[in-house]
Symmetry: C2
Subunit: 235 residues, 2 copies
DNA sequence: CCTCATTTGTACGTATGTATC
DNA sequence: TGATACATACGTACAAATGAG
């Protein structure tokens, strides 16, 4: 097991501190020199970590001033990299498990091709409904290969981000991915879960997510009723 | 006028070479050392340029091997950064101008707040329809402030990317932006242009695009009928 | 208005690790 | 095994923006 590079460790530590409130929105981060000393690194290394934070939208950099922690992105962000839990802000989101993680054979992966290794490992499948202020917003179907993930199916993922769970439990980090977007009509199933009328337009998002673990991908399908909240993202 | 930093100059040069075919898809770029020598820079500087290219999706990096030019220069799929022209692949896309660039007062900018400077400069407004293989795919409404853009309204933008036009003519580069997504029903106007039936689900994308020119933003609204083509993007 | 300390941005150089062939 | 190429990390210097005095 190779340790992750120092700039990444610093990035992850700072990100955790931000999301857990050690630095609050609008507040200035310590200067690069201060961070370098605190983490026993040099300024270029700290800068790389801060660049990552900035590109992920956690901070805003400005020459001559300290970096400022960004306020939680308004609306519902999902197009960048965060999962659906952080997409709506941790606050008043409830996650309802429709189908607990179960092991099954792969059938298809939302039209994404899957490797033989993933095919052979079997598929962990689960469905969640995200509820914001009493209104259902996302229906979230997730599939991932059962590769070296001990005890995964024992956990319910209730009110918890899949990504932070994978990070904490298995040291798997999300690095990027590809996605496809469609506008579709709500079918019976979506009518039921998203509480919309027949034929109502719903946004469908298919995502293939890359991770730091080679050959391990997360396949995710999200349905979203955008009448109340639009999806937002930065690029 | 301050010269742009060297890593950015190298980035832009390489990007131009890629998009204009000097390097073709699948081909390997020169090594970092070779590029450094060729541009009279050092490796860290060249690396920064290559990192930009990679994050824009023009190349794929792999340790131990040269960087490889990507097939579909996706840096600007519609969800990441480019305009709609490159989003569908330059090939057989036709652009039909519904409304030529005209100067008008700002009314609103797709729910994005605009600055006083933009408000005062007036608004260049135009509408385009993108047609792929005979089928209308995008309806594209663009607004941008009339700030230091001589002769802009004289150009029709027929079959031409707005972004590459701004780059070539005014040296304005796109640096990023924010966007909102909705699934909506087609109204009369969308039925007409996108050739869909009443109430058909259509994808609506509102974007505020940042540029290298301070305080200058492009506001863009895209409607897309996704029954034939889904929008794709990388993150 | 100017000066100065602080902070971030750019660019250099160097060394070492690790993946590929 | 060695050569090549990319990844990480160190150190240094100066430029440019900011804000305080």
């Amino acid at each position: 097991m190779v340790a992750s590079p120092k700039y990444r460790q610093i990035y992850e530590l700072l990100r955790t501190q931000i999301t857990e409130g050690a630095y609050s929105a609008g507040e200035a981060m310590p200067s690069e020199n201060a961070l370098a000393e605190a983490h026993r690194a040099t300024r270029p290394t700290v800068r790389k970590a801060l660049d990552l934070l900035a590109s992920d939208g956690f901070i805003v950099k400005h020459q001559g001033k300290e970096s400022v922690v960004k306020s939680a992105p308004k609306g519902i962000g999902i197009l960048s990299i965060t999962g659906t839990t952080s997409a709506v802000g941790q606050g008043n989101v409830l996650t309802h498990i429709i189908l607990k993680p179960t092991l099954r054979q792969w059938t298809e992966a939302f039209s994404f091709p899957i490797s033989e290794a993933e095919q052979g490992a079997g598929c962990i499948y689960f469905e969640r409904l995200r509820v914001l202020e009493g209104r259902p917003v996302f229906l979230d179907i997730t599939m991932l290969p059962n590769m070296n993930l001990p005890h995964f199916t024992l956990h319910s993922l209730e009110n918890r981000s899949l990504f932070s769970f994978l990070r904490a439990k298995y040291r798997i980090e999300v690095t990027g991915g590809t996605q496809q977007l469609f506008a579709i009509r709500a079918d019976k199933r979506l009518q039921k879960y998203l509480q919309v009328k027949a034929g109502f337009p719903v946004l469908q998002l298919n995502r293939k997510i890359e991770t730091t673990r080679q050959g391990f991908h997360i396949y995710s399908q999200v349905f979203c009723a955008t009448q109340a909240y639009g999806l937002t993202g930065a690029f």
